[in-house]
């Protein structure tokens, strides 16, 4: 019988790039005091379509919310374009899940698209003709120009998703983080959206998309992140979407990791003894 061998600690499955558009360093995030993402280290290339893939509850949405600064970090830091989020807010755009808002809100598709221009406008100033033109242009890009004045609750799910994309486009950012933009949309919308994302990549943008369909992932993305409570793999799609790595990602939770997460929550232990240092 051979003795116990130390596993190889350098993770070959997680590839890094120089001059990353996004760098996540030692990121641990929790929901209601229960860690859902452990020690994520990753770098992402620019001008690419990037998919975040993993089973339900893997922490896919959590990862992009943490990157956007919407969740407190237990450890680690996030850098975009080599800077902290606060310095580059205007260059990063977030598309939340469609269900995260109440679509019965009294607003038109144009109103929502216009919200994408609020960041550059600053406090107090009102959107004017220029902002309206930007919003209309964004609506046109997603094929929603004919619905500009429609109340948002009267739009179909796919149309609402497109309005959310238009809002992000109106922001005219360089990096886009999208939470399940293909969820609950019909095939025609999905095709239109992926065409749009490809066009954005041609224009030099980087688009990160939370996605749950493995079949289309192969076709859609240049780079893929496999996630299940920890980062399983990160790399070019052809090297990453392999049967072994998918088995590792989808082959059930790491029982010990789940148990520890629940223990931390139940027994009120701190997730880290020290607060994360700002970088």
């Amino acid at each position: 019988m051979s003795g116990y061998q130390l596993p190889d600690t350098t993770n070959q499955m997680i590839q890094h790039v120089n001059d990353p558009v996004l760098e996540v360093h030692d990121l641990t995030v929790s929901y209601q005091r229960k860690p859902v993402l452990w020690d994520v280290d990753l770098t992402l290339p620019s001008q690419a379509l990037i998919g975040i893939i993993g089973p339900n509850g893997a922490g896919k949405s959590t990862l992009i919310k943490a990157i956007m600064g919407l969740l407190p970090l237990n450890s680690g830091y996030v850098q975009l374009f080599g800077q902290s989020m606060d310095e580059v807010r205007q260059r990063v755009s977030y598309v939340p899940q469609r269900e995260s808002v109440d679509w019965d809100f009294p607003a038109s598709a144009l109103d929502v698209a216009m919200m994408g221009t609020y960041g550059k406008l600053g406090l107090f100033s009102r959107p004017g003709a220029k902002q309206k033109a930007q919003a209309l242009e964004a609506l046109e890009k997603v094929g929603m120009q004919d619905f500009a004045n429609r109340q948002i609750s009267q739009l179909s799910g796919g149309q609402q998703q497109r309005v959310f994309l238009a809002r992000a486009l109106a922001q005219n950012a360089d990096l886009y983080l999208m939470d399940e933009p293909f969820a609950g949309v019909d095939i025609a919308t999905e095709t239109a959206i992926i065409e749009l994302l490809r066009q954005m990549r041609e224009d030099g943008k980087t688009v990160v998309v939370v996605h749950h369909d493995l079949q289309s992932a192969q076709d859609y993305f240049d780079w893929v992140l496999l996630l299940n409570m920890r980062l399983v793999a990160s790399g070019p799609t052809s090297e990453t979407l392999t049967p072994e790595l998918l088995e590792k990602t989808y082959g059930g939770r790491l029982t010990e990791l789940s148990n520890v997460s629940e223990l931390l929550q139940k027994k009120n232990f701190p997730i880290r003894e020290t607060k994360p240092v700002k970088k």
Binding site: G69, L70, P106, M115, Y118, L123, F124
Partner: protein, 430 residues
């Protein structure tokens, strides 16, 4: 009538104070209330309103006088404290927000009533009128109050005008607001402060018990009339201002009447009115549209039945008696008769001695419905793998709703079929 004229002429300075005061208070609380409702914080508004009472009483106990500014500061502080406590309970314990709101509301209000009772028994001569805070009395407004409250109302309106787009985004999608760098926490703080201020100034005329209605009711009513936030705010403010003035009028004619319940009653009536009569969203509009649809379905079913009766012989414009139609398809007789009359008026059927027959236009319309029925049956069997003996019921209802665009899509998808799953011919569109 004379009283109304006297009131409207506003010659009495007191009437002026009361009316302007009530209108300002009502309108500004309605404006802030729109955001309270859209942010789904209606219950929190109620808790704050009740939590204001101990503040009023404490301010009075500490200073021994009814200075409006002092009372305002006192009520503002406890109103705020109640919000902080709700937040603390929700974030630091397992108690959910609705429970926390209920707890805070009753505890603060209980303390308020206790303090009020002890003040009333203390023998302090200044205390008369403090109980007005329970149900409100616009008649008790005096010039000095008006300046304070007028200033607050203006502050509220100016803030909402200046930060309209921020408050709008905050209410719609707070996560996105944060990602584009809006100072979300400060804006929330400001909006909450404005809500507390609206409540604090409103209780003078409406009272703590009913104050939340002043925030919520106009917003809920206005939502029925428009799909735009700006319009909703204006409508809510106008509705509320009218009710405020009406309440002041009641105060003027019958000073013993509590103003608050009157304003709230009027507002509620406006809300019920909106709920029933508003175009598109109102109950009545919805009922009428449902009735329209049912009648159209009835007419299409009759046309279809006449078409089916003619199918074996190929003579589609033959006349059939009512009984023959009813034999082929069970229909409520009275409704069928009225539908047949409408069809004749539309030139789709023709009455003769032998009964009813399709006209040329009627035949076309009947063909369209039958075609849609059979297309849908085919779609269900081919694309949803539904057994062919299960598709008829589905198609019976779907045939009425399919649009020409969907019809075209189905035809393309099914490669312009000629027969349905039961091998019956699909009539072609002409």
């Amino acid at each position: 009538m004379n009283t109304l004229w006297e009131f409207l002429s506003m010659q009495d300075a007191n009437v002026r104070f009361v009316t302007i005061g009530s209108v300002l208070l009502a309108a500004s609380s309605a404006v802030v209330g729109c955001f309270t409702v859209l942010r789904k914080r209606a219950l929190v508004g109620d808790a704050v309103a009740h939590a204001v009472l101990p503040g009023v009483c404490l301010a009075f106990i500490l200073t021994g006088e009814k200075n409006p500014v002092v009372l305002l500061v006192g009520s503002f502080l406890t109103g705020w404290l109640s919000l902080v406590v709700i937040d603390l309970i929700t974030s630091k314990s397992r108690i959910k927000e609705d429970t926390a709101i209920g707890l805070v509301l009753s505890v603060f209000f209980g303390i308020g009533v206790l303090l009020l009772t002890s003040i009333q028994h203390s023998g302090n001569e200044n205390q008369s009128g403090l109980d007005k805070f329970l149900f409100g009395s616009a008649a008790a407004l005096v010039g000095q109050d008006l300046y304070t409250f007028g200033a607050v109302a203006v502050l509220l309106l100016v803030s909402v005008v200046l930060l309209y787009k921020e408050f709008k985004l905050l209410s719609f999608d707070i996560a996105y607001a944060r990602t584009i760098g809006l100072p979300v926490r400060k804006l929330e703080l400001l909006l909450t402060t404005l809500t507390v201020l609206a409540v604090v100034v409103g209780i003078q005329s409406v009272g703590v018990v009913l104050m939340s209605a002043m925030l919520i009711t106009p917003a809920a009513a206005a939502r029925f009339w428009t799909d735009r936030l700006g319009a909703m705010i204006v409508i809510a403010a106008v509705m509320s201002a009218v009710c405020g003035a009406a309440g002041a009028f009641v105060s003027f004619t019958a000073p013993a009447m509590p103003t608050g319940p009157w304003i709230v009653m009027l507002l509620s009536m406006l809300a019920i009115f909106s709920f029933i009569l508003a175009p598109n969203k109102g109950l009545l509009a919805r009922y009428l549209s449902q009735r329209r649809v049912r009648r159209q379905m009835m007419r299409e079913n009759i046309l279809k039945t006449l078409f089916h009766l003619g199918e074996p012989t190929g003579e589609y414009q033959h006349s059939y008696s009512k009984n023959q139609i009813l034999e082929r398809r069970q229909l409520p007789v009275l409704k069928m008769q009225s539908a047949l009359k409408t069809l004749s008026r539309q030139g789709l059927t023709q009455k003769s001695k032998q009964g009813w027959a399709l006209t040329e236009a009627g035949k076309k319309e009947a063909q369209r419905v039958v075609r849609l029925h059979r297309l849908w049956e085919l779609y269900l069997t081919q694309y949803l793998q539904v057994a062919s003996d299960h598709v008829h019921e589905d198609a019976e209802s779907i045939e009425h709703v399919l649009t020409p665009e969907l019809e075209k899509r189905l035809e393309e998808l099914l490669d312009y079929p000629t027969a349905d799953p039961h091998q019956t011919k699909i009539p072609q569109s002409s």
